[in-house]
């Protein structure tokens, strides 16, 4: 791999083909790789299979609204403190997307198996009392060779592309992700290709960061999309808060099935992430800054 992997969000996602399986980072209202998602929507990606984190939100709902999604692995998809995710709900109810009924264990153990290419993972009794195995045919059983008992199994999950947002990344792709500790690293290990959007690129003359705070090693990163405010309108932990008003605007339009207006304004109405930044405006963006140092 080349030493300088820095590019734009648009270039970073250019190679993702229709039909690809995408692991999508972010937890609730934080750390969603929005600049990458916007770029995917703008170029009209189709038939994607999404495996988001167990706490997924606006990025998934927007990709569904834009018609990019064919199949979705669900643990939780919602707008957190703003309620249901309207496009996800409509698509699931109208069956215009395929739902893989999962949960936190399915996603976390699935990606964990995928990260190390274990064929599957067996669990102690958990699913047995629930209805999940009835509707997810990939929750199966095998024999525990140590006790002879039948145990429930989770399939390994792997993605063609993993998309994650970081706060600071160096040119080689060593990514510092604040907020919830790790797990993006597990998802990245379970992805054939890794694309990081990063608010900031570490200056070549900067002292090297404490390596324990680097979440994803550059050796498995393909592209680093330099995207200041790349998680906006979601938060970028330690850098800026979510834009609550903008999220309410999204939620209200989405609830009325008018998501197209939002997308036309903020995604299709701009050429790229740089134009988007100007459209949102410096005053609004800088007003969201949060400082913890």
């Amino acid at each position: 791999m080349s030493a300088n992997k820095v590019t734009t969000p648009e270039e970073a996602v250019a190679g993702i083909p229709d039909g690809a399986t995408i692991a999508l980072g972010g937890v609730h209202s934080h750390n969603g790789p929005m600049a990458l998602v916007n770029a995917l929507i703008r170029r009209g990606a189709r038939d994607l299979e999404l495996i988001p984190t167990p706490s997924a939100g606006p990025p998934v709902d927007m990709l569904i609204a834009a018609g990019c999604v064919k199949r979705l692995h669900v643990s939780y998809v919602g707008l957190e403190f703003l309620g249901m995710a309207p496009n996800y709900r409509r698509a699931a109810e109208s069956q215009s997307i395929e739902i893989v009924e999962g949960d936190e264990a399915y996603i976390v153990y699935g990606f964990r198996a995928g990260a190390s290419m274990l064929p599957f993972l067996p669990l102690p009794p958990l699913y047995e009392g629930t209805d999940l195995p009835k509707v997810n045919k990939d929750v199966r059983t095998t024999t525990d060779p140590y006790t002879g008992r039948t145990v429930t199994t989770i399939p390994a999950l792997r993605a063609d592309y993993g998309l994650f947002h970081a706060q600071v990344t160096d040119r080689k792709g060593n990514a510092q992700i604040f907020g919830q500790r790790r797990f993006e690293d597990v998802m990245a290990k379970a992805s054939d290709h890794v694309i990081i959007s990063s608010d900031e690129i570490l200056d070549e003359y900067a002292p090297a960061p404490d390596p324990r705070l680097v979440s994803i090693p550059g050796a498995i990163v393909d592209h680093v999309a330099h995207a200041p405010y790349g998680s906006y309108p979601l938060s970028s932990p330690g850098h800026y808060a979510y834009d609550r008003e903008r999220l309410v605007e999204y939620r209200d339009l989405a609830a009325q099935d008018r998501t197209k207006e939002y997308l036309d304004e903020y995604v299709f109405g701009v050429k790229d992430h740089q134009e988007y930044l100007d459209k949102v405006g410096a005053r609004r963006l800088l007003g969201l800054q949060q400082t913890f140092r």
Partner: protein, 271 residues
Amino acid sequence: MNPIGGHVPEATYTWAEMMAISISHEMADGAFGSVGAASHIPAAGLRLAQLTHAPNLSFFCGGSGAMNPKIQRLTESSADYRNLVTSEYHFSLDDVVDFETAMRFDFAFLGGMQIDKHGNLNMAMIGDWHRPKVRGPGTIGLIFLGGFKTSYIYTQHHNPKIFVDKVDFVSGAGWLDGGDARSKVFRPESDGPRRVFTPLGVFDFEPESKRMRLMKVHPWSSIEKIQAATGFELLVADDVQTVGAPSDEELTLLRTQVDRDGVLRRYPAVV
């Protein structure tokens, strides 16, 4: 909209504050548990318990990874960075699932879009799975009801649509069909739900039948009102009691040390 219905006594506290205080009262010192995402009320209750009778209670905030955050301002998002930076330890999602599967949490707080008379929970969908009438957000951590030593159910809405005879889909296994149904399925160390907290009162499960049973009636409610708001026949404990108003000391502590911004005071006005 008034989520609890009917008349409530004039008071200087909200039902959300009352719920947090009710939760606090039920917490034992030294236990170690978890609250889910978007769980202001349980989080406030646990923090209040730490500041009062349970200094060695420990809790972890789902959605954030924060262990024992020094909450002074309840945040709207559970995964807010301001909770993380004040915590003792950052759980990774990997850690969380390890703890949940290995039964390291003494308890968890969980909710549902449907809760049935045996404490089974549904977050997936209402109707038939293949043709859902309402698609819910998803099961997220509810299967770990089979991995927690015990659990507490809470909901901000008490009505017959939430409290149903039988959930349409079991995302999280409570006492299943009651009796000893649960113990046939899960590890013996994992017990079913211990309490249910709602705006109207506090409930346990009758030891034999494992059916939900009214224990405590919040000041503005009554046995009759609670039964009317519940979609199945509710058991009532012999020693059912009506809870008194929170003490000034508790309210002051809650408002100055836990919820300085008054998030719980801004809940839909009912008190």
